[in-house]
Symmetry: C5
Subunit: 99 residues, 5 copies
């Protein structure tokens, strides 16, 4: 899994019917220092994430292993909202402080 920051939303009415009801969020990929890496992803939201939150996302077939994405043409899903990230004994991100 990689880290992302939710920065936006995408709306699409003409789509594969099985995608009806799925919420698409726009993520900027970030590294473990919280810096943007330049990449982005449009991911399905399985956890009720909101703009500005730091999340964990899975890609590939793993993205279909949630209730909302099962058997749908979806290759990226937000499957967790990050509370804390600690690297080499240093807290790099703490959701309580960030909020």
């Amino acid at each position: 899994m990689l880290l992302g920051k939710v920065v936006g939303t995408l709306v699409a009415t003409r789509k594969e019917p099985s995608l009806e009801g799925l919420k698409f969020l726009v993520l900027k990929q970030i590294d473990i220092e919280g810096k943007e890496t330049g990449g982005y992803l449009v991911a399905a939201d399985a956890v009720g994430a909101g703009v500005a939150e730091v999340v964990l996302y899975a890609t590939g077939s793993a993205a279909r292993q949630t209730k909302v994405t099962h058997q749908r043409p979806c290759d990226g899903v937000i499957m967790a909202i990050v509370d804390t990230l600690e690297v080499n004994g240093v807290v790099k991100y703490d959701k309580v402080e960030a909020d």
Copy 2:
């Protein structure tokens, strides 16, 4: 999923038989600012997309989770046509304005 812009079509008569009837579109990958990233993809079309439209595409095994691509040797599919893309409160793309 990533964003793409439909720029062309590909025709192939000699192919795996299961691909008969599938429409192949040529996409240029774009980022969330609408800029081309340099990459391209030939994707199956599951939603009736047309040239110049901004679409969302899925790759990998997710690309076989549509009615037209099920169990076919296809690793990329257009599964939605983008209506609006909003990033950090700014509308980056609006299909109505673009049309």
Copy 3:
């Protein structure tokens, strides 16, 4: 899917038994202008492609969705031979002219 040009062949007698009879072709990846991108792939041939032909190939689990590659340890397959590629109204490749 991506575009490739068949440039060679690979022979391997010591291999996983299920691969017996599968033909391996060497592809150079090309972009939609027909330029080589620097990448290559050794792909199974599902369509009887020949050296110098421009083909479409699929990777990942999609590569096992052909009759010759089903349930085999193969992650790349040529699933179509390109007839024409048209981008922004311009024919970038036409097999009849190329032959």
Copy 4:
């Protein structure tokens, strides 16, 4: 599989329910000389790895082939802790010496 060094932990309470109980570790990718390559991964831990250990991780659908990750939305797993790595007759890593 690729080599990684465990450098931290990630805690997430709001997540897909099936992920309950899974431990997420932060890895820095390393090459066969033990140098960091710049990449990272948040991986599920299937083997009880600890910070500073050199591990082997698998990505994609392979990451769901362990007892703790089966059918979960997880695309990276630590499936082995490296004892020794030998390249061209030279021991590049030996866990006993490193500990």
Copy 5:
């Protein structure tokens, strides 16, 4: 599939139980000219490959389609040992000459 050269071995005693008995080899990726590309992979060995041999490897779910890797958390497998590689009519590699 891509080409690799076997350069070493990896030993891991603490691992997912299903991996017991699997041999891990270290590969350097090479291109069709036989030059190292800078990448590496730790792959399961399905064909009895040895150090210095040029091999073909598959990644992703294809890596689980051999007898030794079936349903195991393994994302890379050596599935063939290359005998000859011919590109544009020139033999780029011949195992008999290399041995």
